[in-house]
């Protein structure tokens, strides 16, 4: 303890005054010879305990008062070592990136979460920064908003914003958060510009942060909110449903994938399957150390659409101990493949890879392949999806049939090739083409090297740009698009530019920006246009791992027949397009916590009628989201076919810590400019309060005893 005016401590000598006065008072007591000593002593015995307590309390209160007064006037203070970096003492422009991703919800030892710790440390920084500093607040989870998006000197506002922030279930995206923080700091003219990242240092979310992007940016200070505690976790990282023929036509198999992130194996981990909310099976699973295990539940269901949920024994992070998905009992999807370039060598056949992908195990697709000339003779309405693969020039009758088919709700997948006559297509298939076809383009440069999936084909090629998983078609793909990213595209068709409309979206692009896969709504149906071939003539996509799921998901997406974890699931924070039933005027989405939201299809500018689908974006919590449709007559019915699951990003379950060499704080920042700062803590306020309390206490005590005397 230190004092600003230590000389005033001389006054402490007065602490003996109450004792001296007490002693003097006793010595000056008048002696009296008294006859009724017996009565006096009896009376004394009656009150002595209370009186002594009062005397001691009074003496202590008065002594405390005499001590507290000179102490308070001496202005004492203590220097406490702050656990914040030294740089926090500088005047600066600072952006605090608060990690509120899903992993921050796990429980620490004292039942608080890393998020609680992080928020408290953020508040410490806000309160500790010099008064002229400016502060902004950015969140680290994917797609989150910035609570204080511009630099502000208003501490109260930042503290209030911190208090209002809640932890999310989203994946962390530090690249985006750092970009945003850098943008915020760009408006500052100060020399000292810092970004404080308060996180549990989970490696997930840092993948896209590169040293190159950090080099020119502001100084970054990373604060660990986990206390460095090692974290072991078990999680349900995958859940899917597939037919179970061994159980008959209505047999389904729900397959859960359990990950164990600990260095010790887990034996006998309890696992429960709930179907439509009821527990139907319970079992145990052994999961190897740092490995995964699959648990397959077989069950028989009646009806078509169901939803399943798998729950494992809870650990410190219960959010990932359950996962849900929609289950569809066997319902064959009839697919018509129109082969525009049949060959006698099977592997060179235009439809070879396409058919193989559609017929792959578990898809439950019924595939019919025809030549373009046979198209007009077919009843298209019996098919859920039609694939037009490198069809040269559809005749008028076929084009009219296809257009009618799509407008009535059918799904159409168009892939091109060297046989496609763009002009004819643009004329006859104008009604269903998302964009008019343009010139064929050949890649002119060798693609950049990628560590995975290289082939011996050395032709110049394009690659796909990073995928946007918010599109339902791509929701099942890993965040970085593994399986698609390695594909090479040697030739493709360019598309003629058209005005942007909300009913058309570019699902995939080449690295040069040209569209690779375009999604468009046509009437009540949907069309996907792939600007390259589905054989190996223009691309090696068919032999890439992503081709099979892309084709199957495209078929389901076009037929509006999602199944399992893939198409009926969306990641937390993602958007889900829900197609209204034929008679539905609006729909209600019921969240896992019971909250519901009514949605109506809204007409867009330039469209004569409303879209017959709605986009739901409030997917904040993992779980099953139920859908109900409201008809014009006021009746409301469940839509089991539209139920979808929102799933946690498996990366958030992985406790792997960010390696030290990948931490974005530089050596100078990590040391934070020397030893931790000392903070002066004024103590005289507390002493002043103690003086007031003691005065009140002494007065109350004296008054109480005087009153007691008056009463008697």
């Amino acid at each position: 303890m230190h004092f600003l005016a230590p000389l005033l401590l001389i006054g402490l000598a007065a602490a003996v005054l109450p004792w001296i006065i007490h002693r003097i008072g006793r010595r000056r007591a008048r002696p009296v010879r008294f006859a009724a000593m017996e009565l006096l002593l009896r009376a004394e015995r009656e009150v002595s305990a209370r009186r002594r307590l009062r005397d001691v309390a009074l003496l202590l209160a008065r002594t405390g008062l005499v001590i507290a007064l000179p102490l308070a006037f001496a202005r004492p203070f203590a220097e406490v070592r702050s656990d914040l970096p030294a740089v926090t003492t500088h005047s600066q422009s600072a952006v605090i990136i608060l990690d509120e991703s899903a992993s921050m919800r796990r429980r620490l030892h004292r039942d608080d979460t890393p998020f609680d710790v992080a928020r408290a440390r953020a508040r410490d920084i806000v309160e500790h920064l010099s008064p002229d500093s400016e502060i902004a607040l950015v969140l680290a989870s994917e797609g989150s908003a910035a609570p204080v998006a511009e630099l502000s000197s208003d501490r109260a506002r930042v503290v209030a914003a911190l208090a209002s922030v809640g932890v999310s279930a989203r994946r962390a995206d530090f690249a985006a958060a750092l970009r945003r923080a850098t943008q915020v700091l760009a408006s500052s003219t100060r020399g000292d510009r810092l970004i404080y990242v308060i996180t549990d240092l989970q490696a997930t979310g840092w993948e896209d942060v590169t040293q190159a992007t950090l080099a020119a940016g502001p100084e970054i200070v990373v604060l660990d909110a986990s206390g460095g505690q090692p974290w072991t976790n078990r999680a349900v990282v995958g859940l899917g449903a597939e037919p179970a023929p061994e159980e008959g036509a209505h047999g389904i198999a729900v397959v859960a994938e359990i990950a164990n992130y600990a260095t010790e194996p887990v034996r006998g981990l309890g696992i429960t399957l709930r179907l439509d909310g009821s527990e139907v099976a319970r079992g145990f699973v052994d999961v190897p150390a740092a490995g995964r295990a699959r648990k397959r539940f077989v069950h028989t269901v009646s009806g078509v659409a169901h939803h399943a949920e798998v729950v494992i024994d809870h650990d410190g992070f219960p959010l990932d101990d359950r996962r849900a998905c929609r289950v569809e009992a066997s319902r064959g999807l009839r697919v018509l493949v129109v082969n525009g370039d049949p060959r006698t060598v099977r592997t060179e056949d235009e439809a070879f890879f396409l058919e193989a992908a559609l017929r792959a195990g578990g898809s439950n697709f019924s595939v019919t392949t025809v030549l373009p000339d046979d198209l007009a003779n077919r009843d298209l309405t019996s098919f859920g999806v039609i694939f037009l693969a490198n069809v040269a020039r559809p005749n008028a009758a076929a084009a009219a049939a296809i257009t009618r088919y799509v407008e009535r709700g059918g799904g159409l997948f168009i892939s091109v090739g060297d046989r496609v006559d763009a002009d004819t297509w643009n004329q006859t298939m104008k009604g269903v083409l998302p964009q008019p076809l343009g010139l064929k383009r050949s890649a002119s440069a060798l693609p950049g090297t990628r560590p995975e999936g290289e082939t011996v084909d050395t032709r110049p090629a394009e690659r796909l740009a990073p995928i946007d998983r918010r599109h339902p078609l791509l929701a099942a793909f890993p965040a970085r698009g593994e399986g698609l990213a390695s594909a090479r595209f040697f030739q493709f068709l360019l598309l003629a530019p058209v005005p942007e409309v909300p009913t058309r979206r570019i699902v995939l692009r080449y690295e040069n920006g040209a569209p690779a896969l375009v999604d468009a709504e046509v009437g009540r149906g949907r069309v996907l246009l792939l600007t390259t071939s589905v054989d190996r003539e223009w691309t090696d996509l068919p032999i890439r791992p992503g081709f099979l799921p892309l084709v199957q998901e495209a078929a389901r997406y076009l037929a509006a027949a999602p199944s399992g974890d893939a198409t009926a699931s969306v990641s937390v924070g993602g958007k889900r397009e829900i197609v209204l039933g034929a008679d539905d005027k609006r729909i209600e989405v019921v969240k896992p916590n019971g909250d519901s939201r009514w949605l109506s299809p809204a007409p867009h500018a330039g469209e004569q009628r409303a879209r017959h689908a709605v986009l739901f974006d409030e997917t904040d919590e993992p779980g099953l989201y139920r859908v109900r449709g409201a008809r014009a007559d006021g009746t409301v019915d469940d839509r089991p076919d539209a139920v979808f699951a929102v799933t946690l990003d498996p990366g958030e379950s992985d406790p792997a810590r960010l390696a030290d060499d990948k931490r974005p704080d530089r050596a100078s920042a990590r040391g934070a400019g020397g030893p931790p700062p000392r903070r002066r803590m004024e103590l005289w306020h507390a002493l002043g309060a103690a003086v007031i309390v003691l005065v009140l206490f002494e007065s109350l005590l004296t008054l109480r005893f005087r009153r007691g005397r008056v009463k008697t």
Partner: protein, 308 residues
């Protein structure tokens, strides 16, 4: 003892305070003033002379004056009785005064011993006026002075002189004094005990009962200083005992004890009042602040009412 004449309820007594009485020249004057004050309230004349009122019958015994034989009674019961008049109902009275050191307490005005002496002197004076013999026993832990009951001319003077000379000293032992008087009083007597009873042993109530059981009329005057009823001190005081060998001391702020002291004092009085009631002893409490004449008058008045 009897108070003759009008015994109507007292009205507007003319009584001097103890301090005023203390200023009077001698104990005989004090006794006379107190008695006059007491009877002034009762509208009686204490100097009315001997009574000729019939009081009681006594069976004839050889030597009795045959002129006083009640022939009517002989006719009724066929036995010889002689009439006795009031002035002939001689009652021996013993005045027992506690002269221990504690009786010497008196912060303002007179001490308890002085006060007891004044009341005792007034009683003795009144008895002498009526021709009743009165004796005196001054005691502490032992009998300090004893004057047996007599009616001769100079006896009252000796008694008053002894009271004048009484001084507080020693420990108190009222039970022993009572026992001694009990031995002396061989016929129905009036025994009047003056004490503060502050350090009286518990067996005093047994002694009272014993003396009372022998047919004696016993009166206990409980005399306390007002300070012993309610503690008046208002600053830290070092209290010490008054009696010899009493080493008890207490340094205390009396204001803290005032309430409980008053309760203890009241409990003491109540305890003795109850003990007297059980022993059929008349209990009279007085503080040294009250006019002695008032105390005497109340005593006489109560006895008159009890006799009727």
């Amino acid at each position: 003892m009897d108070a003759r004449g009008d015994t109507r309820a007292p009205a507007q007594p003319l009584a001097l305070d103890p301090t005023d009485i203390a200023r009077l020249g001698s104990m005989s004057v004090r006794a006379r003033v107190i008695v006059e004050g007491a009877f002034a309230g009762m509208h009686q004349n204490p100097h009315a002379g001997s009574s000729i009122e019939f009081s009681e019958h006594k069976e004839y015994a050889p030597g009795d004056d045959i002129r006083r034989i009640d022939w009517k009674a002989v006719g009724r019961v066929d036995r010889y009785y002689i009439k006795r008049f009031e002035d002939e109902t001689e009652m021996r009275t013993f005045l027992l005064i506690d002269s221990s050191a504690s009786m010497g307490y008196g912060r303002k005005g007179v001490t308890k011993l002085e006060y007891a002496s004044y009341v005792a002197a007034a009683l003795a004076y009144l008895l002498a006026q009526q021709g009743d013999p009165a004796g005196l026993l001054l005691f502490d832990e032992k009998t300090r002075q004893y004057l047996p009951p007599r009616t001769r001319g100079g006896h009252i003077r000796d008694l008053l002189v002894a009271l004048e000379a009484a001084y507080p000293a020693g420990r108190t032992e009222p039970g022993r004094a009572l026992a001694e008087v009990g031995e002396i009083a061989d016929r129905r007597s009036l025994i009047v005990l003056f004490s503060d009873l502050l350090d009286a042993p518990a067996d005093l109530s047994d002694r009272l009962r014993q003396v009372r059981s022998r047919g004696n009329d016993v009166v206990l005057f409980h005399i306390l200083d007002p300070d012993e009823v309610e503690l008046p001190y208002d600053e830290v005081t070092d209290f010490e005992g008054m009696e010899p060998e009493d080493a008890r001391r207490l340094l205390v702020d009396p204001r803290d004890l005032a309430a409980s002291f008053a309760r203890e004092s009241a409990a003491l009085r109540e305890r003795w009042r109850q003990a007297c009631l059980e022993a059929r002893v008349e209990y009279r409490f007085a503080t040294t602040a009250e006019p002695p004449a008032e105390v005497l008058r109340a005593f006489l008045f109560a006895r008159q009412r009890a006799r009727r």
